[in-house]
Symmetry: C2
Subunit: 346 residues, 2 copies
DNA sequence: AAAAAAATTGCCACCGCTGGCAACTTTTTT
DNA sequence: AAAAAAGTTGCCAGCGGTGGCAATTTTTTT
């Protein structure tokens, strides 16, 4: 367990002051070329790495980013983390993960404490926590950089990256309509989440362009889990007049529909078209594979992180200029097809 | 954005020295009851929270734990994170995630830098990185606490939590044999991972107890991804003499087998039994649902974290006493059944 | 009641680094 | 060539806590 070398060691050996070493580390412009090389050489020899705590204490920077979320889909979270870490690692930041409870009334305090305690340089907030306006306000007031991922534009460009779920759902509607479906059902997510209502409205709007309307009894609310998907699917498929196509708010529930259809002997896509939303790993694994909407989650995370680091490093104008909107795209696979049922057929 | 209060503010207002405030914060025993109350009152009024960086700098503790891994299955990672965070949050630690490349020759340096830079109090290492003996050695030498999750006992109880994959695979073998299968295939994971060889050996050993032996051509090596699972499954199922049962090293590959079997018109479980390993979300989502081995991942993470925090807090004997071995269990679902093929049938 | 022991509390240095400003060099201007 | 400007580098004071030890107060012992 060898003693860790400090900035003093580097300074002494390189024959310069530690202030100069500090400048080299931070890429200051005002360091002579020869001095820089000399110092860098010593740094490498000693395998010196600056102490993040000391650095943070002196400069009120921690090079720590936080990720705040509430019980997201594992696959979604993983995608986000990968995206964030990709940027972090190249820019020298580390990521601290922090689950919390969206519903809790101590949410705001919890998050602020988290940020203060670890002196985070900024936080990335995932849905649905990102939809909390009180939290957003508190973050804004706290003065530390933050970026929200969301399905709806919520505040200024600087603090958000949105995916246009509404448009994507509309595209799915168009696709369904063009396949000739008219008896269409929708399994929504919790209506208290904006992403759910966005998708539902987009879908309905898209269908209405084709003169198709979803009757109220064809809209069921799940909570984005496989289990509730099963419940909803059973309700929809055991009816006398069952739909010929079902659009679910996410892949988990769409997979559940597949499962129920199978157990009822309903053939997909011949007798029933099914589509999901997310395009997570599940979509391509199930049989038949799911037609779905691909959300560029990783890319959103990437943008969000870039944006945040820019705003940490005082490039607010630049941060506001990083693209803030991404467009999910339709991915057609095996679970959807032309409507083949005649009028009277069930 | 109000100024954050410091220990000095608390000390001044409470009319004591900051050393005393520090003692109160750290729960030192030698503080008079009345003094403590007085100080705590001020702390609450000011909503004072100690600066983690300053604390760390002075005491060489950061209350930060690291999680080191290389490209794990998203579902596995999520499970681990949940387990770790559960303990962390109750004990006042935060978690920093750090992906790295197991194959890279800079692995050790990368990990050590990570630990030093953020002054982590300890790290949890996931497979396959956890199998690197050089890394383990470096960690031991570095003196900072670490715990490895693995499928094989690798070092002293204090630093590891293992799941007995070998025994679990043997149990699957027993189950297969009792169903009457004799033409059995195995899709292994990369042979360079201990977990892969453990499972394979356990499976073979288990079968041999029933006089069943897997011929070499019935063992294929995938790399634990769905895609390679597809390749292996195709090879196995397009043969004239195809197996009546396939055991895959993980659920991803087992799901791939299901997919291929479906496309070839092979009925599962009537004509082919399929089983996986992990019991992740996928297993229950696919059709037919997968018989598999449930690994108590979350529990392992929990144990590992508990163990580590104990050893951070100097309770080495206690740490060594936390259970270090968990037993995965067989979960029977729909993808397996009695062997129904006669001798000549394919 | 004085001395010894124990319990509290305070002082000061220091953890490792960066910020501000001064000092020293080198280059450019006049 | 002297003066001004620009480019480098160093010194010192913190950032907000904790550790060691001394000082003070309280309790116990004789």
């Amino acid at each position: 367990m060898q003693k860790q070398s400090t900035i003093n060691d580097v300074a002494r050996i390189a024959g310069v002051s530690k202030r100069t070493v500090s400048r080299v580390i931070n890429g200051s412009l005002s360091v002579g070329e020869s001095t820089r090389l000399k110092v860098e050489k010593v740094i490498n020899e000693l395998k010196y790495a600056p102490n993040a705590q000391a650095r943070g204490l002196a400069s009120s920077r921690s090079y720590l980013l936080g990720l705040i979320y509430d019980n997201p889909d594992a696959l979604y979270l993983d995608d986000v983390q990968r995206g964030v870490l990709e940027v972090c690692s190249t820019l020298g930041y580390e990521l601290v993960v922090h689950p919390c409870r969206y519903q809790s009334e101590s949410l705001v305090n919890d998050c602020l404490r988290f940020m203060r305690r670890s002196k985070l340089d900024g936080v990335i907030v995932l849905p649905p926590v990102s939809e909390s306006e009180t939290l957003a306000l508190a973050l804004k007031e706290s003065g530390s950089p933050y970026v929200r991922l969301s399905s709806v534009a919520l505040d200024t460009q600087e603090h958000i990256v949105v995916s246009d779920d509404r448009a994507a759902a509309a595209e799915m509607a168009r696709y369904f309509a063009q396949l000739g479906h008219e008896k269409i059902a929708f399994i929504s997510g919790p209506q208290r989440y904006k992403s759910s209502t966005e998708r539902m409205e987009g879908f309905q709007l898209g269908l209405s362009a084709y003169g198709v309307k979803i009757p109220a009894e064809m809209i069921l609310e799940g909570n984005n889990t496989f289990e509730t998907g099963i419940e909803c699917a059973k309700q929809l498929l055991q009816r006398i007049k069952r739909p010929t196509a079902i659009f679910a708010n996410n892949d988990q529930m769409a997979a559940a529909v597949l499962k129920v259809a199978y157990s009822l002997g309903i053939k997909v896509p011949e007798q029933l078209s099914v589509a999901g939303f997310d395009d997570n790993m599940l979509a391509s694994r199930v049989t038949p594979s799911l037609t779905t909407i691909r959300r560029p989650v990783r890319q959103m995370a990437l943008l969000a992180t870039t944006k945040m680091i820019m705003s940490i490093e005082q490039n607010h104008k630049a941060a506001a200029n990083v693209a803030a909107k991404v467009a999910p795209t339709l991915v057609v696979r095996e679970s959807t097809g032309r409507c083949q049922s005649s009028d009277t057929e069930n």
